[in-house]
Amino acid sequence: MRRDLHDAAWGGVLALVGLAVAAWAAAYYDFGGLRRMGPGFFPVVLGLILAALGLLVAVPALGRPGMSRHFAWPETVGVVGALLVFGLLLNRAGLVPTTALTVLIASAVAPRRGIVWRLVLTIAVTALTWVLFIGGLDMPIPAWPRSF
């Protein structure tokens, strides 16, 4: 029997997050009382509730079979990577090179291989972005690297 590991793992993570939040809030923020709640009241109580719910998710999951779920690893890495590149590069390299590189990275995880369609798409999206955001909306972003 394959256990419902997804729920067990996530329930455990949520329980830990709840406990951590409650502990942090209890340690650093004033709890107050019902009459005058401090900033710690809500996070402590809800953190404990989350911990309880996490256990409620995790414990029954250990005793029942679960289905394996497909996790799209390459797609996740490609998309998150594309965003990180965009975020880190935008202020340094300018909009045009950043957009082009982002599209190239993002399209690398598409089900269709090949470079030609990706180059066409890169040029199209980069041009569209330039026209819309620099030409149309006049966003205060440099289009090219500063040294140009």
Binding site: H6, D7, W10, G11, L14, G18, V21, W24, Y29, D30, G33, L34, R35, R36, M37, P39, F42, P43, L46, G47, I49, L50, L53, L56, V57, R69, H70, F71, A72, E75, T76, V79, V80, A82, L83, L84, F86, G87, L88, L90, N91, T99, T102, V103, A106, S107, V109, A110, P111, R112, W117, L121, T122, V125, L128, T129, F133, M139, P140, I141
Partner: protein
């Protein structure tokens, strides 16, 4: 202001050229994202949120709302032709819509979906206007205790009525509420969970959270899924014409679906997705030959499509009159209103008649526009289905980045969206609802404020929630909603 005066006033607002243009733009964009599998109304509204900073509040809300109901129209197209629901609300439409398409009646199925959507929306507007006045008057007597209790009830209802394990749903709501705590506490000025990050002083940015949870997570999950083989069938205008028998069959389901959707849409916690499922179940129950359902029964399209459109309209009732969004899309609408400094609530009708009545009238105009354009343009929408998702999603990613960046010029937010997107996708894979997380995030701070206020007034006496009859009613309903899954579980184990 009487209803008629209100509508007349709304007409002057909704017919302003700028508002009209944004309404039409929203309706078209909504239909488009509804048609395209892989991107839904939620993602589209999220992507448009940054734009709302730059336009008038009426235009902003009218546009976002039009995307929402426009997507309800468009969602049916992919459901019927490809058995791929364009939106969650149109998932039930695949059950009988796709069989109809296989029998060569795709045109009639599309016609039915469009007409039912239109009728459901229009009747939904009537329900909205009727309910908003009543509820607004009722809510003026609400105090902090009632608000807090009602919002908790809404969150609990959303987690226990919907699909999925209630414990999982509730844990997402609580996580959302905790995320809502991040930032400066309004009551004490204490910075909670900011860990010294200046960017977090105002809390987690709603746009960043929504874009990560929906825009990005949806894209990741759909890169492979939305890729399919074979072009959709060709649909010509002549095929749209229904027979007299078809028309006779859809009238009653539209009426039933509208009433059902109007009711469940207005309840906090239940939305258009649940309404469309209930609409289908109802049609099958009242049908003389229930075995026809799933084989291409036209009633199975008319009922749910009317229900989800009606619900999409009446969902604005609690959002506008109580300030309580019933579903995550409404949570984004509320967020957009707050961005413009409008706090919805019982005083909404008096304090912001432009917004309320303008929105109501724009619903009518937008739906008329959708009906008038969508039927003749059906060929164009069908051909949109030929665009593979791989041509779209890299552009979506770039727009997500620029959209988030435009809010406050921070690349930190883009990196945060990337993280939230990865977590959101992982949660969605494990069948935890990111939508409920967002709902908790938006309602959390409101609940905390009202709870604190209520207990300050009652001097820390929790009995205030029992002694005040309306608040007590909400508390009882909450307890019942929490007990519901327990009872269901017991019965399942016992029998």
């Amino acid at each position: 202001m009487t209803t008629l005066e209100g509508l007349a006033h709304g007409l002057t607002v909704a017919l302003q050229p700028s508002v009209l243009i944004y309404s039409l733009f929203g309706a078209l964009l909504g239909t488009l994202v509804g048609v395209l599998p892989g991107i839904g109304a939620m993602a589209a509204i999220t992507l448009l949120l940054p734009i709302t900073y730059y336009i008038s509040s009426e235009a902003a809300l009218v546009m976002l709302a039009a995307v929402y109901y426009g997507a309800q129209y468009g969602g049916a197209v992919a459901s019927i032709l490809l058995r791929l629901p364009g939106t969650p609300q149109s998932a039930v439409t695949t059950l009988d819509g796709y069989p109809m398409a296989q029998q060569g009646r795709a045109g009639v199925a599309l016609f039915t979906a469009m007409v039912s959507s239109f009728a459901g929306s229009m009747l939904g507007i009537v329900i909205l206007v009727a309910l908003a006045g009543v509820l607004g008057r009722l809510a003026t007597s609400f105090g902090a205790a009632e608000y807090a209790a009602m919002m908790v009830m809404g969150l609990v209802a959303a987690s226990t009525i919907g699909e999925g394990r209630p414990a999982k749903s509730l844990s997402m709501v609580v996580l959302g509420v905790l995320l809502g705590c991040v930032g400066t506490d309004v009551n004490s000025g204490v910075q909670r969970f900011t860990f010294g990050q200046v960017q977090l002083l105002d809390g987690i940015n709603l746009v960043a959270l929504a874009m990560g949870l929906f825009g990005l997570a949806e894209v990741i999950g759909n890169i492979r899924k939305a890729e399919r083989d074979g072009p959709p069938p060709h649909v010509s205008l002549r095929q749209l014409v229904p027979s007299r028998d078809d028309l006779r069959r859809i009238v009653a389901p539209i009426g039933r679906g509208t009433a059902l959707g109007g009711f469940f849409g207005a309840l906090p916690g239940t939305g258009s997705t649940i309404s469309s499922f209930l609409g289908y179940a109802l049609e099958r129950r009242v049908a003389r030959q229930p075995e026809r359902f799933g084989q291409g029964a036209i009633e199975g399209i008319a009922g749910p499509e009317a229900a989800n459109n009606s619900a999409a309209i009446t969902a604005f009732v609690p959002t506008l009159t109580l300030g309580i969004p019933g579903d995550p899309i409404m949570a984004l609408m509320l967020g957009a209103l707050v961005i413009h400094g409008i706090q919805p609530g019982p005083m909404m009708l008096e304090a912001h008649p432009d917004m309320f009545w303008g929105l109501v009238v724009s619903f009518g105009i937008g739906n008329l526009f959708l009906l008038a354009l969508n039927l003749p343009l059906i060929g164009i929408w069908v051909s949109m289905l030929r665009i593979p998702f791989r041509w779209l999603y890299p552009a979506i990613i770039v727009f997500v980045c620029l959209g988030v960046y435009s809010v406050r010029g921070s690349t930190f937010d883009i990196v945060m969206v990337a993280g939230i997107g990865a977590i959101g996708y992982a949660l969605a894979v494990a069948a935890f609802s990111p939508a409920l997380l967002l709902l908790g995030f938006v309602l959390g701070p409101l609940i905390e404020t009202n709870l604190r206020r209520a207990l300050l007034v009652s001097r820390g006496d929790l009995m205030t929630f029992v002694e005040r009859p309306v608040a007590c009613g909400f508390v009882i309903a909450t307890v019942l909603l929490l007990a519901l899954p327990l009872l269901k579980g017991l019965r399942r184990n016992g029998g």
